[in-house]
């Protein structure tokens, strides 16, 4: 299958601090790829480099076209939706305003209305709170809102940064179930960054293991799950 995202030799530095050292990975079209690693491995930075929040050195190709060096608003317009660390909710705005902002770049008004309904079907709690200020939502609800907002873009590639962080297990299950549905039913490719390796490996097709800014292990998710070193270090058994 063709790759929807190809990253080669990615270097990122924050000022004088080098964080990524020649990273390379791909995301298959309609697939789910996960990047695992401990805190500080560079996972969040990787997503930021793809979505353009930080400027990378190296090659990032989306659908065969280079996007490295382009500003994040342009990259979003190409169809890459990034659900960032910390969720990035527009706290002063209502749930519905948040969702409409997610669909800002779309021209197809009627379809936006349909997507709004679909999103409320996925996340009924958002539908109940649609006129509430987003800042008053709980952590789990805000994560759902962030994901919903990303979906309003009708993205072809979804970047998820640690969606399980700080959430109750049931909520996390629900979110992962929805991600799987979106991937299988709508064909949205997913690049998932997670510390919770067990969860991520349960969802993804392919996995990469990151340590201090370098890929140390790569392969199909099943293989990675069975790998001894990974089991001991990241899966705890």
């Amino acid at each position: 299958m063709a790759a929807i995202l190809e990253v080669e030799d990615l270097h990122v530095a924050y000022g004088a601090t080098r964080v990524l050292h020649g990273l390379g990975f791909t995301v298959e079209a309609r697939g789910i790829t996960t990047i695992l690693g401990a805190n500080g491995a560079g996972k969040t930075t990787t997503l930021r480099a793809v979505s353009g929040i930080v400027r990378p050195v190296g090659t990032v190709r989306f659908d065969g076209r280079r996007i490295d060096g382009r500003p994040s608003e342009d990259i979003a317009r190409l169809g890459i939706a990034h659900v960032p660390e910390g969720r990035g909710t527009f706290v002063g705005f209502t749930v519905e305003e948040n969702l409409r902002l997610g669909a800002y770049v779309r021209r197809d008004r009627a379809a936006v209305g349909q997507d709004l309904d679909r999103v409320y079907a996925h996340f009924p709690v958002l539908g109940e709170r649609r006129r509430q200020a987003a800042g008053t939502l709980s952590g789990g609800e805000q994560q759902m809102l962030a994901l919903a907002r990303a979906l309003m873009l009708r993205p072809r590639l979804l970047l998820l940064d640690e969606p399980s962080l700080g959430l109750a297990p049931l909520v996390v299950q629900e979110i992962f179930r929805i991600v799987r549905t979106i991937n299988e039913r709508d064909g949205v490719s997913v690049l998932l960054v997670e510390q919770n390796a067990a969860l991520a490996l349960g969802l993804a097709d392919h996995a990469y293991l990151l340590e201090t800014g370098r890929v140390v292990l790569a392969g199909p998710a099943d293989e990675i799950r069975r790998n001894d070193a990974v089991r001991r270090a990241y899966l705890g058994y």
């Binding site: 979505s51 929040i53 994040s72 979003a76 939706a81 527009f90 706290v91 409409r100 902002l101 800002y104």
Partner: protein, 295 residues
């Protein structure tokens, strides 16, 4: 009669208050989007008013010149943000402050050079005849200012609240990072914000020039009152800026009328007192909110 004087002064105060409210709103709009206080807001308004004056001198009818000036002011504000402010976006606050100060002196100096420092009269579009309501007499310009200001503020409110572009502009101001992830061109939104602020300022300039006469330094005192209004209303609240503006206008007028030693000399002191008192008692103003910082 005492009540007549009181009402007249209140209406008069609301009129000047409308001017302060407009300029204060312009300041708050830019502050919310970029966290800088645009010290050049007054000079931008003054310069726009001179542009209108040129048009009027060339024979353009008043309302055509008014609209033309608004369009030019909007474009000017947009260009100033995209061309002059943009290279220092993201730099420390004080760097931006210096750029605004630079802009201030440039506009002031250019106006003086192009148009000279001679004080000019400026026409009011409203009829001359005083308007009687019962026993109270109101100036038509005052009433006109109140109507125009409220109409403009109403339109702005509707724009920000009910249109998608307005929503995007508010989002870009509050959370530029997330806005970019939604594909919103934040830079362009900032430019639009400055354009709108300049437009609002131009309206203020056009409405106040008939009263205080046109000269390059005319907006200095008004800007200070706008600061007082924004402080009173709360620098984080556009609604506060507007309410603050009207309040300051009325307070200034009533203080000038009823407190004997505040003549025209000490009028500026009223603005300063308002600033100091508000900052001592309630720094966030009537409608502002404190910025809560997470540790």
């Amino acid at each position: 009669m005492a009540i007549d004087t009181f009402l007249q002064q209140v209406v008069s105060g609301l009129a000047t208050g409308g001017i302060y409210a407009s300029l204060a709103l312009a300041l708050v709009m830019i502050y919310q989007a970029t966290e800088i206080v645009n010290f050049a807001q007054g000079e931008m308004a003054m310069f726009s008013t001179y542009v209108a004056w040129s048009m009027l001198n060339a024979g353009v009818p008043y309302w055509a010149a008014f609209l033309g000036t608004l369009v030019l002011a909007f474009l000017g504000g947009f260009l100033i943000e995209r061309v002059i402010v943009r290279p220092v976006e993201g730099k420390p606050v004080l760097t931006l402050v210096i750029v605004c100060i630079g802009l201030l002196v440039i506009l002031n100096s250019l106006a003086g050079w192009i148009y000279s420092y001679v004080i000019q009269p400026f026409p009011s579009p409203f009829p001359r005849a005083p308007i009687r309501v019962g026993t109270v007499v109101f100036g038509p310009h005052d009433l006109g200012v109140i109507v125009v200001t409220l109409a403009m503020l109403g339109l702005l409110y509707a724009f920000f609240r009910y249109t998608t572009l307005g929503l995007a502009m508010r989002a870009a101001a509050q959370n530029p990072g997330s806005s970019r992830l939604c594909g919103i061109r934040v830079g362009r939104m900032l430019g639009l914000g400055w354009g709108l602020a300049a437009l609002v300022g131009a309206v203020a300039g056009l409405l106040v020039a008939p009263v205080i006469f046109l000269e390059p330094n005319m907006m200095g005192g008004i800007l200070i009152y706008a600061f007082a209004a924004a402080t009173l209303g709360g620098i984080t609240s556009p609604f506060g800026a507007v309410v603050g503006g009207f309040l300051v206008g009325v307070i200034e007028n009533l203080a000038g009328t009823y407190i004997p030693f505040i003549g025209t000399e000490l009028k500026l002191t009223v603005a300063l007192l308002i600033i100091v008192v508000v900052l001592l008692v309630r720094p966030t103003g009537l409608f502002g909110h404190a910025v809560v910082r997470r540790v």
